[in-house]
């Protein structure tokens, strides 16, 4: 099963689930906003999405990941709008029978997210200037 949310505001984490008797691994990834972007100090990032397409692509990617790595469930929340330095912009939880397929799935999922989901970052500099981030990981 997959669960995808794109949220405008602080991310509420998915809760720990002790009822899962078939999953030996529960992997959690939280992406945070760093204080520098291309050596410039920033106060925040502002995430912009292509509304509609971003959710569609993220949903497809989650389903592809579950099929490719034989994991049980993948839940993901991606934040849009202003995210201050230190705050969480991405929250992913994967449940799998063993850790290896879960770790491989997590790495692939995040790597693909950075190639195909239409979400972008604008850097908010200390003087308030807002510029498109040059940081990408294709």
């Amino acid at each position: 099963m997959t669960k995808i949310e794109i949220v405008n505001g602080p991310i509420g984490f998915f809760s720990n689930d002790n009822s899962r008797q078939q999953d030996g691994a529960e992997l959690v990834f939280n992406g945070h906003v760093r204080a520098t972007e291309y050596r410039e100090k920033i106060t925040a990032l502002e995430y912009e999405q292509y509304e509609g397409m971003a959710k569609t692509e993220l949903t497809k990617l989650s389903e592809d990941t579950v099929k490719k790595f034989f994991i049980h469930d993948l839940f993901c929340k991606h934040r849009i709008g202003r995210v201050d330095v230190g705050e969480t912009s991405l929250h992913v939880v994967i449940w799998s029978k063993h850790r290896k397929e879960g770790l491989d799935a997590m790495t692939w999922f995040i790597s693909e997210l950075k190639k195909r989901v239409p979400i972008w970052k604008w850097a908010i500099l200390n003087d308030g200037t807002r510029i498109p981030s040059e940081c990408s990981h294709e």
Partner: protein, 81 residues
């Protein structure tokens, strides 16, 4: 003639200072021809930016003839996460 809407994000939005552009084009214009028009209108600001094309919210791998009412986005490298 056909009318299309171009959704602008990231560097494309920065180049034009707008969320979207509405253009009237010759019937038969392709996505590739539209990309050339957009790059020309940006006056050099998109020369070093690689762009993927989304037509009606789906990535398309090859050039396609545009239809009246189409929504097009020229997608700069994405940066989620």
């Amino acid at each position: 003639m056909i009318k299309v809407t171009i959704k602008c994000f990231s560097q494309v939005k920065y180049a034009f200072g707008k969320d979207e552009l509405n253009l009237e084009l010759e019937t038969g214009t392709s996505t590739l021809e539209l990309e050339n028009i957009i790059r020309e209108k940006a006056k050099g600001k998109l020369d070093t930016v690689s762009l993927r094309i989304a037509l009606n919210q789906k990535y398309i791998p090859i050039q396609t003839e545009l239809k009246d009412g189409d929504e097009v986005a020229f997608i700069p490298p994405v940066q989620g996460g």
